[in-house]
């Protein structure tokens, strides 16, 4: 089994773009999550940890997953997410999402290096209202990716556990090189950040920022260089 897995489970040098893509896009096939689920079943024979935390590979797909608990009702969270046009409110690298027609297709405009954008068209492939939805990029897309998000009631009065799972195949060709060069952060970092922003928005009605003025919000901290204190 190890020999057929060429790509490690944890994305190493891929970026936020990938994650955004993963959240948004989907591509050719369902092979990524299928591989993930197959592995998850194997993993389950060992322990009860989520499959995506396994120390193993998922064939050529990168898989990352995150869970966050949000103190809001499951139906409300589902409905907000299901309206994909809401996603840019908390997904850092998604500029906009526009519905395009049948089968809940949508075009995601993803921020790309050099102030350019990449458009990826996705469709909903499975859903269970109030609980679960999965999407993937349409065939022919530059990036083969799929994502799903599940909503389940947390114990007692704790609200809802939201688990997002992203799988993608690192792209080849020119685009892949551009992305690989630009991407500094692991997609799972981006996934975690996006989910935390989702939690903030749903729980508090806003997303925390330390910007002192409106024109600083969003890139408040990229404009100044962090300075390490001198040793005392």
């Amino acid at each position: 089994m190890q020999t057929e897995n060429e790509v490690s489970r944890r994305p190493r040098n891929v970026t936020a773009l990938f994650v955004a893509l993963a959240f948004t896009v989907g591509a050719a096939g369902a092979a990524g999550i299928t591989a993930f689920r197959r592995n998850k079943q194997r993993q389950r024979q060992g322990d009860d940890a989520p499959g995506y935390t396994a120390r193993r590979n998922f064939r050529q797909y990168e898989v990352s997953g995150r869970t966050v608990t949000i103190a809001r009702p499951r139906e409300e969270l589902y409905a907000f997410w299901r309206d994909f046009e809401n996603l840019p409110k908390f997904m850092e690298n998604v500029e906009k999402v526009r519905r395009t027609g049948p089968n809940d297709r949508a075009i995601w405009t993803i921020k790309a290096p050099g102030r350019t954008t990449v458009d990826v068209e996705t469709e909903i492939v499975r859903e269970e209202a109030g609980h679960f939805m999965a999407w993937r990029s349409l065939p022919g897309s530059d990036i083969d990716t799929e994502g799903r998000v599940a909503f389940e009631d947390a114990p007692g009065q704790r609200g809802t556990r939201v688990t997002a799972l992203i799988a993608y195949k690192p792209p080849g060709g020119k685009l892949g090189k551009v992305i690989a060069r630009m991407l500094q952060r692991e997609p799972e970092v981006q996934a975690r950040h996006d989910l935390k922003r989702f939690k903030m928005l749903m729980e508090t009605g806003e997303i925390a920022t330390s910007a002192r003025r409106r024109d600083e919000a969003g890139d408040a901290d990229s404009t100044r260089r962090h300075v390490q204190p001198e040793e005392a």
């Binding site: 103190a71 925390a208 330390s210 919000a217 390490q228 204190p229 005392a232």
Partner: protein, 395 residues
């Protein structure tokens, strides 16, 4: 506006910077009337806390008048408010359990990774205390943007002076929670290490809660004298053997409840060179590193240990055996200010608590750099500095 900015180690200055604006719906803008320099600000001054950037505005103890409100703020223009040092959303799991200093939603997402890596979970947002806790501009300024203004600030009556209520922002509730965490019962003998503002307020709180006797430990004569005036017995650790004295003063039983109001903030938040900084501080700050160990040895079997002093890194030679073998209860944490403000405001109004006794100096905001230097260099006499925006500079 004018604001006290951090420029580097032992380098702060008052600059003119752009005024803050309403950014998020629940924001309010406060015009600061009084703001204090906290002992923990000295660790920013000393440059031992990473995540500082030149130009950062310091200050997390402040109060003033509401001058602008966002659409979802519950405050009204003209109200006079004291603002808690910690920023809390009021909606998350922790805030709904009144554990405000553990708020999930106040530290901006991109600032959370460092503290999450160090502690397993991210810290909450704080005013004016490095980018590890959000990079929020602080209160040593003419104006402050206050997020989640419907949760944090408390409106104070006009009949109370600034100096009476300002410390609701941090050190008064911190001393109060320190005593609460010690579960003080009427016959208890309580020992408090450190007679800085938090230690002094913890002494006062322990006495209000009915402790039979409170023993204060420090080495600065003036600070010990303040503790004595509150009603504590005192031990100067430069003159007496603290452990032996505490055993004798508790009739050989040991101290019922111990409070470490010293801390080792100098270790604080150190992510890089964590061990180096820890070792460095243990060597030059040996007295401070000693306080908690001494408290753990002095406390009686099945006694209560409260740690309001700030720790940020890892402790070396921590007497874990004493904790287990004596069956100790240890409680600590950043203060849940919002949980205590109302109760403490009432106690100020009815005269149960005095807050002004520890103020040693009042300076115009413009003289804040002198305040930092003197507070840092002369701890015996400079017990607490309050900065006033409306005061004219004499220099």
């Amino acid at each position: 506006m004018r604001a006290l900015t951090w420029q580097g180690t032992h380098n702060v200055r008052v600059d003119t910077v752009p005024d803050p604006q309403i950014v998020n719906p629940r924001d309010a803008i406060i015009a600061v009337s009084s703001t204090a320099i906290c002992g923990s600000d000295l660790h920013l001054y000393d440059g031992v806390i990473p995540g500082m950037m030149p130009g950062d505005i310091l200050g997390h103890e402040f109060m003033g008048e509401v001058v602008e409100t966002g659409p979802d703020s519950s405050l009204m223009k003209g109200q006079r408010v004291v603002v808690p040092f910690g920023i809390s959303c009021g909606k998350c799991f922790f805030c709904s359990h009144h554990e405000y200093s553990a708020c999930s939603n106040s530290n901006p997402v991109d600032k959370q990774d460092l503290s999450a890596a160090l502690y397993g979970h991210a810290m909450s947002g704080l005013f004016g205390y490095s980018h590890l806790t959000g990079g929020y501009s602080g209160g040593q300024a003419e104006y402050v943007r206050v997020p989640f203004s419907d949760v944090g600030p408390i409106v104070v009556p006009d009949g109370l002076e600034d100096d009476q209520v300002l410390f609701l922002s941090d050190i008064l509730p911190t001393g109060w929670m320190a005593a609460k965490n010690a579960d003080i019962e009427p016959d208890d003998t309580v020992a408090v290490w450190g007679c800085g503002p938090v230690g002094l307020f913890a002494i006062q709180a322990a006495l209000v809660m009915g402790a039979a006797r409170v023993i204060a430990i420090d080495h600065w004569p003036h600070r010990l004298e303040l503790a004595r005036q509150l009603g504590a017995d005192i031990i100067n650790f430069r003159e007496s053997n603290v452990l032996e004295a505490l055993m004798e003063m508790s009739g050989g039983l040991g101290i019922d409840a111990v409070i470490d109001a010293v801390g080792m903030e100098a270790h604080g938040f150190a992510i890089e060179n964590l061990f180096d900084i820890a070792k460095q501080k243990l060597s030059y700050g040996a007295d401070r590193a000693t306080a908690l160990r001494e408290a753990l040895l002095a406390v009686r079997r099945c006694g209560k240990v409260s740690i309001p002093g700030v720790y940020g890194g890892m402790a070396d030679k921590f007497p874990l055996g004493a904790v287990m073998q004596k069956g100790l209860q240890v409680r600590t944490g950043q203060t849940h200010v919002q949980a205590f403000m109302g109760e403490l405001l009432e106690k100020i109004e009815d005269g149960t608590l005095d807050t002004t006794f520890l103020i040693s100096h009042r300076l115009p905001l413009e003289e804040a750099p002198r305040g930092y230097r003197s507070f840092h260099d002369n701890q015996n006499e400079w017990t607490k500095v309050v900065l006033k925006t409306g005061m004219n500079s004499l220099h």
